[in-house]
Subunit: 200 residues, 4 copies
DNA sequence: CATGAATGAGAATTCATTCAT
DNA sequence: TATGAATGAATTCTCATTCAT
């Protein structure tokens, strides 16, 4: 598809620019000249700066979830193991795409009202869509108290996100695969712990 | 001091503006018109926008540490209790000065390189100066292993900052004094815990 | 004529757009997207925006004069009655084609030099062509002073255009047929008046 | 007032530019460079293009009414003669300020919604203010039917505006004073006519 | 005949900063 | 100390037009 070459250039340049600097500090001029593209093209494709930014955010989630769902082991219906796979793959994807990871960090730090609102919409849309995919057919028979699934889900995901956060701070400079193995071990440990308490 | 009225107006307007919006989004026009002061005066007093911003940051710490050191119980030479007082007063001060608290949050989220660098300088300067004041004459004889004081200091301050952080998130809407009492109880609990382990 | 469908879409969209907004305010993007047609096609058919605009103007007169000349009673060779028919049909046509009427109003208000010049050319071309048709074989024997035909022509057409103008302002919201009947009565009255003075 | 020199340059350049071309066709660049003034200054004084345009419109009426009211013969309380003075002075003022006259024509032809709305507001404000001044203490005892004053007022002003309009078209190129004398004669004639019919 | 990607000059507007008074 | 007029580079965005396919 030769015709999307320049659009792609814009997207790449956008990710890079918004990963390095704040939204407001990045000028559309910077982006188009980095993308080696005319001034008008950005607006031809994305209408305005804000929409471009949010489109990139949307694309970023697409990239991440593509990695997450590539040959996802749907045959394993164990709740915790699915969750573990999800987290490890998400984290792995961000490790792989450094620019996107940096971009995401900045997006989530942006405190402009209009942008925050739209960003949440996009985020929720992805979350809903993909969590449904993963958790609509998990094995609920294993739980000791299936009626507490809501609370368990929250506690567990929250704990995991915390673990990832701590791990991120600590292993920021490490070799990717090595760091991921460490995270995996830690998560696996917690999975065992959760299983012991929440399963029959 | 009639002659500093306008400078003060600028400072107040500055805190308010930078508490509500990002550095880049706030225009000097916004500030001077909110302060009811001429355009030139801002630059007369503060040279440029960046310096104005950093001056406010410096002033903010002054405000906070003035609260902290007002009748500080220096007669109590216990390490942990001094630390506890420091933290509770700092937090209390921010609770009292909502605008400054919001301002500080935004400053610490700002990721502009030039500003980050300068901001750290100011931060370190205050930290050094005031921590010295508090911890230069603590009672070191109580420690089981005085040679580990460095590690203990880090562990403890880090834990405390974590506790405050969690507390902030949870009690954001609560009544000030009530929320502070809760924090105090929690911190006191940890102080006991630390004393038990690190003191003879 | 399947192959002119898109050209027709463009024309319709053009009339509508230029009826609603000034020439400069209408963008070619507006037109092509309203016409559901590619950007290039507009330029393929009409070369540039200005030419497109003027082509529409030309077409508008074609539409109007088609209505005027549909089964025109050429057997009646009376000068004033032909003129009356011309005016009533012209006005009726504009009442029928609201969009074209609005378009025409805007075109005649446009004061861009280049466009005004071209517009006049088109206008004169139509005028000449059609007035000739109507007035080349009128019954000149009825006039008291056939040598004054020029002045009579001017006086009469000018008076009629004035009558239509006043009528337009007054009956803008009325039912078409009803309003037209009123205009007809008024014009007929003047025709009688003119006949009395200018005929033998 | 040395400090308003450049503001005045902008105003003059604005009148000239908007007198020669449509609102949309005039670029702020054209104006500032004609005024020999920096790009920013226009926006410093007038915020945006639209507001600049409307400010000029307001100023134009000020200029005209300043001419109208300069030593206005308020001692003459005759209704028609006041009206006559008003019209002749208004017309004379526009003859004197050719640029403003051309500007006004264009403003009144502009069909942009937002601008039309604001323009009317300004127009009504001036009208109200000045008509009140002139007609609040006219001699109403002279009228045969003072209860019909509303209708008389409308009929008369409408007739006069029509006369001026025709006159404008005819004497566009004539010497100012000569043309004005012609208009005056014509108006005077009508005043006599009105007096004969509406006065006792 | 039909597309729409691509261009780039030019538009309005913003804003930190300067400087004469 | 205080003003605010003045600057102009930088920014976002528009739009008629071209052209390879």
């Amino acid at each position: 598809m030769k015709e999307y070459r320049l659009k792609n250039n814009l997207i790449k340049a956008g990710f890079k620019a918004f990963a390095q600097q704040e939204y407001k500090k990045v000028s559309t001029n910077d982006i188009v000249s980095a993308a080696n593209v005319s001034k008008g093209l950005l607006f031809h494709y994305f209408n305005n700066k804000e929409n471009f930014y949010l489109t990139l955010y949307d694309l970023a989630w697409n990239v991440i979830y593509r990695d997450v769902f590539e040959a996802f082991p749907f045959d394993n219906r164990d709740f915790f193991e699915r969750l573990q796979t999800l987290i490890l793959r998400k984290t792995g994807s961000l490790q792989k795409h450094k620019t996107i990871a940096a971009f995401m960090k900045r997006v989530h730090m942006n405190s402009d009202k209009a942008i925050t609102k739209q960003r949440l919409k996009i985020y929720n849309h992805h979350n809903q869509k993909h969590y449904k995919k993963i958790f609509e057919d998990y094995d609920s028979t294993a739980f000791r108290h299936p009626e507490h699934i809501e609370e368990i889900f929250k506690t567990v995901t929250w704990s995991f996100s915390r673990i990832v956060h701590e791990w991120e701070k600590q292993y920021v400079d490490y070799d990717n695969t090595e760091a991921l193995r460490i995270l995996e071990t830690e998560i696996r440990q917690y999975v065992e712990f959760f299983k012991k308490h929440f399963y029959k």
